[in-house]
Symmetry: C2
Subunit: 398 residues, 2 copies
């Protein structure tokens, strides 16, 4: 374990809140979030384990990568294997063999993506399972109950995420409905906390609930969403509805505008973002937590992300490139294997290719977050940010 | 590293031969095979890494399982990525990042399985690639050259494996051709050793070449194959053409009959076998080395092999079975995960299922071999064998 230096500059601890900002640098914050299953060093990236597994990895491999927290998905786990079954297993942590913190997404984004197979009403979202066609109804309350059974450390509210592009009226309606659902979800969460629904097992009694700000790319809708969500009052707040197709500068603008209105003493979570440079830019705007399928999904598609750009491993130029995938990387894939070997595995369709690429991409994301945290501690975040942009590109490596 | 006790009972070291039998128990032998990339403790099971990867595992995971030697396949690697490319990488070991011994199968079995797409002549086997339709010709000589470029520790000769069932005349013809090809393959191998073909890079100068006994289930054909192959003279000998569909008692009979005629001072390798009880029974008949795709392939099909039978993990009875897959097993899968979790991963199609199941099955095979080796050292192999059969079944676990 590396010895982590603690700086007092900008340090303030808020009584009764389990989030401590230990350093700031501009709007960037260095913090610690204490959760029932452990402490999360922020800014943090959360690898996505939708169906109780990080795709292509075993948890022994995840242990080596050592994220402080991972994601699970309420929608997927409700369908298979079922939250009742997971509750009987003792909760999601025990079920999947992962003892550190877990955040569960509410499934709102997934349900709304089921175009043509779902019906949204004020009550909730009715849909047919893509597996067996059975009818399901997710409501703001049932999603709270499901997550109580899963026993995640952080439960997200059930929100309605408008598509992009969308009419302002549709974005506004989704934002308003999210507010009404947030109130219902918070009420249900607090009822479970009070013990008013003893029939719902709570696998993690100290579970926290995060609200979600919607409003698309409209500043005034975001403002109303922030005001309404803060008025309800959650353990912390997330920004949803971004990274859905809008231009990156628009996203950064909404992040900056919205994050500035969220409580300084609580973690801020930007949902579903993004590319490595998005993480750096969002930290610069005050974001503390991230998740994204990009590093794991792109790994399976043969895309390796590095400080110097993207390596599309199937490219013929790598066929006899016997150097490491990323010469600057200390991950086990880059320490042991060449671009030529990774290309071979990808071209012949060995699933080992997905594992090795996933190890690299997640290591790169987690290592970038570690660099961000150190830079904030040392007060050199702006230098780090500029240095990062000097080498990183979304294009292929030169 | 466990301290391995060395027993002198039955120990004899043969000068000039890199195989030492350190103990015997009945016909079972405990030995050490010294190869250019390390020493193999025998009896040994060799996990199959056909295309320069053990399917569903990274080599970091293979390291934990710690086999002494793994297999690669000449046919597959010749097609992709090509033995020339692998030679330029410095050989197969460097190409795939595995420093310990490797045996390369000759590809004979694979080519003869290409029914309808190959033509066998005295010259060799002409076939069209299943990848791009390009014409290829493998000959007894070219297979030696390919394996020299790959740089495996052990190179198998190019043999003709008759199908089962087959007419005796066809089995005899395949056996006779294998003998003629063996002579040509040995001549070519020795020519490379003498430096007569400097245009062929030899990635592992100390490479050994094993001959292969054919003859199907006919004792007299096996006898002629043994005599002819020994007459040519190889570094060691393998028994091919079994585990192709014949009844198990017939296979055991052929193994016993054939192994008894092979030199006592050289390792004996039974190709492509088999189920765990096959390994025990073949060791009892004097076999030292095994390979089989069964543990890795069955893992991907959701079959977990244990001392108490087979677990078909998709079975609904495991849906809420929160106990370990095999309570007696010390593998990382059984230490960390439940049958219910493995079933969930398998049912939703997560590739992590294949990885976790493969870890278990290979651990079980390698652990069984370790138990076999210890039993031979202690002179308790017969007790081990009986105890093994008391619990092991090819049926589902009770």
């Amino acid at each position: 374990m590396p010895i982590r230096k603690r700086f007092t500059r900008g340090h303030y601890k808020l009584a009764g809140v389990s989030f401590t900002v230990t350093a700031t640098d501009g709007r960037a914050r260095r913090g610690e979030l204490r959760l029932p299953h452990g402490t999360v060093q922020t800014p943090a990236f959360m690898p996505v384990g939708t169906r109780a597994a990080i795709k292509a990895l075993t948890f022994d491999q995840v242990d080596v990568l050592n994220p402080d927290i991972i994601l699970g998905n309420t929608y997927h786990l409700h369908l298979r294997p079922g939250d009742d079954l997971i509750a009987r297993a003792g909760g999601l942590h025990k079920f999947m063999g992962w003892a550190k913190p877990v955040l569960t997404d509410s499934g709102g984004y997934q349900v709304f993506s089921l175009a043509g197979r779902r019906t949204i009403t004020e009550e909730g979202a009715a849909f047919r399972s893509h597996i067996d066609g059975r009818a399901h109804l997710l409501t703001p309350e049932s999603v709270v109950d499901i997550q109580a059974r899963l026993g995640s450390d952080i439960a997200m509210i059930f929100d309605e995420c408008a598509p992009w592009p969308a009419e302002r009226a549709d974005v506004e309606a989704a934002m308003e409905r999210t507010l009404r659902w947030a109130r219902r979800g918070r009420d249900r969460f607090q009822a479970l906390q009070r013990g008013d629904a003893p029939e719902v097992p709570r696998a993690t009694p100290g579970q926290r609930q995060f609200g979600i700000i919607q409003g698309g790319t409209h500043r005034d809708l975001r403002d109303r969403s922030v005001a309404g969500t803060l008025d309800i009052g959650f353990d912390a707040y997330a920004i949803g509805g971004l990274s859905v197709g809008e231009p990156v500068d628009v996203m950064y603008d909404v992040v900056e505008h919205t994050a500035a209105q969220l409580p300084a003493d609580l973690p801020r979570y930007l949902m579903g973002t993004g590319m490595p440079d998005d993480l750096v830019e969002s930290v610069a705007r005050g974001i503390d937590m991230f998740d994204c399928v990009l590093p794991t999904r792109n790994a399976r598609n043969g895309q390796l992300l590095t400080r110097h750009g993207v390596i599309a491993i199937k490219n013929a130029r790598y066929a006899e490139d016997f150097g490491p995938p990323d010469p600057d990387c200390t991950c086990s894939t880059c320490q042991r294997h060449s671009r030529a070997y990774l290309r071979h595995l990808y071209m012949v369709g060995e699933m080992t290719a997905a594992s090795l690429n996933t190890v690299h991409n997640l290591h790169f994301y987690l290592d970038t977050m570690e660099s961000i945290r150190k830079a904030i501690e040392f007060g050199t975040f702006e230098e780090f940010r500029q240095a990062f942009h000097r080498t990183f590109t979304r294009q292929h490596v030169p």
